[in-house]
Amino acid sequence: MITLSSVLRRYTSEVAIGPVNLEIQQGGITALVGPNGAGKSTLLTMIGRLMGMDAGSITVAGLDVSKTPSKELAKTISILRQENHFVTRLTVRQLVGFGRFPHSGGRLTVEDERIISQAIDFLHLGELESRYLDELSGGQRQRAYVAMVLAQDTDYVLLDEPLNNLDMQHSVQMMQHLKRAATELGKTIVIVLHDINFAGHYADHICALKHGEVVALGTPEEIMVPETLSAIFNTPIDVIDGPRGLLACYF
């Protein structure tokens, strides 16, 4: 379980995130949604201890993220930001291998190699594993980053807009991979999503943020309600029962 209590981050005297009190259940996919500037990514990066907070505390599986050594946390939570470019040239397998660093400290054991192979296969990257990252397409590269995070083998996985820059096909595939990771591998995945329909379809819980505060939290069925969505996104939104589930219509 991820617990945020009175988490606050100030930017200027007017702009602030929080105070946020939130409990994210173990298991499944929890989607953070909300309009631009609502503080979704900030919240995620604070949970992933990439950014400090001004007040409050965050615990992941009982570990206080601002007090626990980073090394310990790396075995429990992993976080992937939107933008990743490295100065070093890496192959897919080398990148995924870095995911084992918290466990192996850089010297890979046979067991590490097995987990790396599994993570690569899980995202169907087997054929690409010895290609260099700069030779891959955007979607393939994104999958490689996710594979690295899976190889890290943490119970909690935080992803900041992993669908960014992906086309429709790759977005859907990525969500299917993540769904499988949640169900088959028992991961708790927290993900920032832009498209409410992706959240409605794939997430198990949706947490809506606005002006730096949590305004709604619940299952997709509870959140995918015209009034709630319209209030969150400041746009008139209808919800229809589509052939494959609930769909938000905002045109």
Binding site: G48, R49, L50, G52, L63, P69, S70, K71, E72, L73, A74, K75, T76, S78, I79, L80, R81, N84, H85, F86, V87, T88, R89, L90, T91, R93, Q94, V96, G97, F98, G99, F101, P102, G105, G106, R107, L108, D112, E113, R114, I115, I116, S117, Q118, D121, F122, G126, E129, S130, V149, Q152, D153, T154, D155, R180, E184, L185, G186
Partner: protein, 366 residues
Amino acid sequence: MSAITRQETSGPHQDRRHDPVASRGGLFAETDAHRRSGALPSRRAALRYWIVLAVLAVLAAASVLGTLAYDNPMEFGSRGFWLIAQMRAESIIVIVVVAFCQAIATIAFQTITNNRILTPSVMGFESLYRLVQTSAVYVLGAAGITFLTGVGQFLLQIALMVGFAALLYGWLLARRGGNLQITLLVGIVLGGGLGAAATFMQRLLTPSEFDILTARLIGSIANADTDYLGWAIGLAGVTGILLWAQAGRLNVMALGRDTAINLGMAHRRQMIVVLLLVSALMAVSTALVGPLTFLGFLVAMLAYQLGDTYDHRLLFPLAWLIGVVVLAGSYFILKHVFYAEGSVGIIIEVVGGTFFLVYILRKGRL
């Protein structure tokens, strides 16, 4: 805690045997023995690396031997031959030490700054060195240079430079929101201030004093005094070993702040540690032969190109050898072809600087 985590997470992996996707994983598992994640991704890459390393080793040995033996007026093997060779050997040792310091410091620095066009000389050391040397000549006249040569003074200069770095980085980086690039910029500007002070004092020197000073201010192997060579080797060796011990972490640091923290790195602390080690190496090199801005850049760039690996354990030795080849090679050529051994430092600066220009004009992203 971690044991529990491992048990929990290994559970689902076993369960996967029963579903179709996992059984596909199982098929792959049989070929797992061939799937390795080494720093050199394929046999070809590995072969390439070792061939490059071997060629460089041969080249380095050739330039070292060439420097020792070429144009030695005495008969090979005679007592006189060895005496001359011994004198030259000191230059070679200096070259090896300087190449070591510059190569390793630059690569480590570029890794933690996540930027392959910076060199640690931007940290303001050279200006500090320049100021110290100039003040000595200014205050004491030509005798000032002699005053600055001695083991104690050598160590003092190194301490001064490392202290400068420690103060600057300790102060700026340890603050909340401390940003490496801003810290570097502060270093550069401070360097500018120190440099201006040095330039002012240089104006007031007599031309002969100035000539003596110039010799010290331009990187030259002849600047090194063998009295404290032992100290230099010791300091560089210890720092080098410490950095070598960090190689695995440097590999992770190269992935950038966010990824490094995600993988459990105490990023800021690691950065300060590496910066201090880098500053110690740079201080040794600068105090030994004077400032060299672009040697490190040249060597590191070649090492990345030739090595094509992320692993610092493989990059460090490669870069060191390249450094020796470049320095000893140009020393040899300048000495025996152009009879201008004094200009090694400045020639390397110009060549390295040109490479730098070409490189940044070709490269798309910073």
